[in-house]
Point group: D2
Chain length 333, copies 4
């Protein structure tokens, strides 16, 4: 039984709490949130300790799940590592690549598992497509196309401090691209527009992006993003190879098709939003983490994966600013 | 080059004329219709002889395509056979089983091809499903399910003289069932209702039917019919066997899918009606006939197939009337 | 909080235990199984009382979930009702219609909820199709087609005492047909064959069936069953009406499509088996029951529904034996 | 009746000949090909004049269909215009933008219709998606994604003189992008690799490309290409807007789905190749041209469209060479 301390009791923290409670081999031991009421609600519901500080919560547990605001992630990773606890940290590690590098150096030599919350790697569909590709089912992988569109624009307050679309939203797709490609992108092109909400330009952000990346061996990868899709959360991955193609598609709440005078085969809008769409991914990601904790092995989504996804985001930002195919090696923090 | 005489220049006759003109190895030599204007229109369009009588048209050709009103089919088959011409006759041969049997006896010994217009046997999808089944792809065939629904109710005048839904509409499905099963149904159950238009009861007809048939080896077959489907012409065949299933589905004019706030993956209504849905089937059926004429071999849809489908229709009528599983052997004309 | 006693700790009992533990507002208070080890395993796992008898378990609870062998259902319903406890009983109530009728008479006047485990009524897809139909989305309902095929033949030992396919397997489809039709079938035709395993004939059973039913207003319903489908658990419902059609389809573990030199759009085999396919239905069915217990209202699947489904099974058995369209009114226990 | 002279009797010329013969209102009057045998074959088959020179063929007709090798297109356009004949010319106008500009200047003031063979604009699916978008069905168009992959690598001899993938293959997608976007791309990024056949690098070509374009209003467009797709000719267009999405998909020869122990819902490989996939597009494109000829109106795919697609190809070539987002205005021939 792995005792877990949950730091951060907001929307995603609540979801992690429910996932921990359902998981075999895990126990929600303590929770902490600077907003005491949020921690107390979870504490009451699941009968776990409500700690007075992050440190107190960390001390009570075998592993720490960090779901606090992004700015605190690196500090809490360092504190947890210092305390010798296994770590599961929500993405991104930090919005600043320098801070991420400093954090990596600070925990250098730490030997317990550190997993970053790149849930999509654990989605059953994406995982099956990945595994089939690695097993050679589509021959040599040549192209990866990732479509990733949120169902609706997040709040202005959230977006203003989000770090921008590449660090906040595309970060998932950069990680998924690396996972699927099986090799590192070496060049990144990115552009974007404010097509959903032109006022995002006020703080220098865009809501619609298109990216192209290329690996050393010439594999090509396209990512497209939008902050708002009318038909629900759109999460597709297309893997194209010399012997075929795999498409990991979207999920609906049920499988009813409608037929009438104007349409045939019409399904429900897609599941909305990540907590619904990736519910199994969160569960499988936690199970994978628990297995790594038990065997002290390397997680499927490591600290280095978190750093490398952020490097791609920085390359995209530079590419968009300079209108050129940026070499990933240029990005040095 | 096979010279073809077309008898009957109504809706289906016009379609056959266009198919003949497009076909390699065929020539539309002469047309005849008791309504002279109808024949003249086709004659003008394609530059062929407009005959003054069926006999005259028959005399000019190597093969006769009979697309006249049902009541004249048997007579024209006999006349064409007497003239030694290959015959392609639209279904049904006749609404009276006695007349069909008499016709069969009248042309006994005739050695040229006689093909009945069971177009669905030549539909590329249905044919591929049939061939895969015969090749063992789904193991032992166990169940056949045929869904066959017209896009809209035919005119009252047509329906009044149609011979009733089993002889007029289900006849196609009885033939398709035999084709797919690969063995003869020995028992037939049928029921029906007037759900589309209750006034059809005035002349003893129904517009919605469900049928179950069983072969000697125990294979099961279900047919359902409706005279009106809001979403277009619905033509599906499901073949279920010990190793899998094949479904031959519907066709749309194009492959655009729509996604919006209320629906995902929505396609066009299905192609409406048989002339559009089965356009390739008509062409392939004619080509198959031309090949049989050239080699003087037995067609894929014979006079006997026409007779046996009608026997099943008669068994269905008796089953509906008597509320029991009727043995096909009881139907003797 | 509703305290639940679980009677029966076999495969389906275990599934119900897990569902109860996950449900809000429910507590697994006690378990009982004549095989003590089975009850102890669940007791240990969830920390609940392992009762020495059904009576003891019933006494400890507000509601009783009966998941024992079929032969004991009616006795336990009577015992639970006598103790004044709400009842959730797995289907079928009993294999004997006489026993079901006697049980109904024995609990006459009992005013707590009695729900029968017809899980399919609670499947999100089937429920959405049902609700849309009742809301008029497809106009007047005319035809219902239920395809229900198990992924593989149950054990010979199970089948020998199952009561035969109509009472054991089709019972779910008879209930679903009534639920979807919104009115009572008044005539039943059924036939069947041993196509999966001919030796089932030794105890008078079949493994493949086709059924047609008709309601007083003329609505038509077809059910087909097979005890073994190579491609997984096949659970489809088609609702056809004057303005359109709804199809509630199958579920896969994920949504990856495969494309290669021989195929396009190929998905996973369907989820196998009912515990996986209907996992949400079991949860939603329990939640619905808990809501009925809380408000002391009539469940969506009542004792009378259990009895009426069995009446249809008896009508099907008689129809198959006598080869005729049996009036449901003939079946009187 | 429009009399048409067909110049060029190779593979695509033969296809055009068959399309002309089938079309209402068109007559195949004369054919010419420098390889006399090719022209004679078509002449014999359809009973039209086999001209001794292009000029002779042009003189006999009302309209000229140019399907010769690319290097002769501009000359034949100029010759036809000089003779006052309406022109349908296969794409591309020329591989050299300078030659295209010179041709445009040479025919300046010519008032008969000149249509370029961008068949995809006339595909029923692509056209329906286009029309629905223009009608506002998906709100403001934001992203266009075009997937275009050939079923297999063309011959080395063809590729060597093709002008490279952007001028030869992507040219169709550049045109389709402009058609769908409804406004001009102002910036182009392109990259590519030799993933299908590394030896293409010998003459500086690639077989796999990814492109991103941006319009003045910020609309984004992605194109991906491959010279070889194992599962057939892959031709998809995705239109994403503020209110929804439209996807125009691929076509199969029939609609049979396969289900077995390893797969469900598996269809046929896609139609292979453009002559099959776009058969209706070629017919509808010709009909549209005939209507323009009859009414002397501007075609849907003009000479200017041909030039603008080539400008985008030149921008892509420059972008790939220089690794930057190239402004379309930089390309001046």
């Amino acid at each position: 039984m792995t005792r877990i301390a949950l730091l951060g009791c907001g929307r995603i923290g609540k979801m992690h709490a429910a996932t921990i409670v359902r998981a075999e081999g895990a126990e929600l031991t303590a929770v902490y949130d600077p907003v005491a009421a949020a921690a107390e609600e979870i504490g009451r519901r699941y009968g776990c300790t409500v700690a007075a500080s992050a440190e107190e919560a960390i001390a009570l547990a075998d592993a720490v799940l960090i779901a606090t605001s992004t700015a605190t992630h690196a500090d809490l990773i360092e504190a947890s590592a210092k305390a010798g606890k296994a770590i599961f940290c929500e993405k991104p590690i930090d919005l600043s690549l320098d801070r991420v590098i400093a954090c990596r150096q600070a925990i250098a030599g730490f030997e317990r598992p550190v997993q970053i919350g790149f849930n999509r790697r654990f989605d059953p569909g994406h995982r099956a497509a990945h595994d089939a590709t690695r097993a050679g089912e589509i021959g040599d992988l040549q192209q990866v196309i990732i479509t990733s569109r949120d169902p609706g624009l997040a709040s202005r307050d959230y977006l203003r401090v989000s770090g921008g679309i590449f660090r906040d939203m595309t970060i998932h797709d950069f990680d998924l691209a690396r996972f699927m490609l099986g090799e590192e992108p070496v060049e990144v092109f990115a552009t974007g527009s404010t097509l959903v909400d032109p006022t995002l330009a006020e703080f220098g952000d865009v809501d619609s992006t298109m990216i192209v990346m290329r690996t050393a061996s010439g594999k090509l990868c396209h990512i497209n993003n939008s902050r708002a899709a009318a038909y629900g959360y759109d999460q597709r991955v297309e893997l194209f190879g010399s012997k075929g193609m795999l498409i990991s598609g979207n999920r609906r709440a049920h499988h009813v098709e409608r037929f009438n005078a104007t349409t045939t085969g019409a399904g429900e809008p897609y599941l909305d939003f990540f907590i619904e769409r990736y519910v199994e991914a969160f569960e499988l990601g936690l199970q994978s983490f628990l297995a790594c904790v038990a065997s002290n092995t390397r997680p499927d989504a490591t600290f280095e994966d978190g750093e490398k996804a952020l490097v791609l985001a920085e390359a995209a930002i530079r590419s968009k600013a300079e209108g050129r195919f940026v070499k990933v090696g240029e990005i040095t923090g």
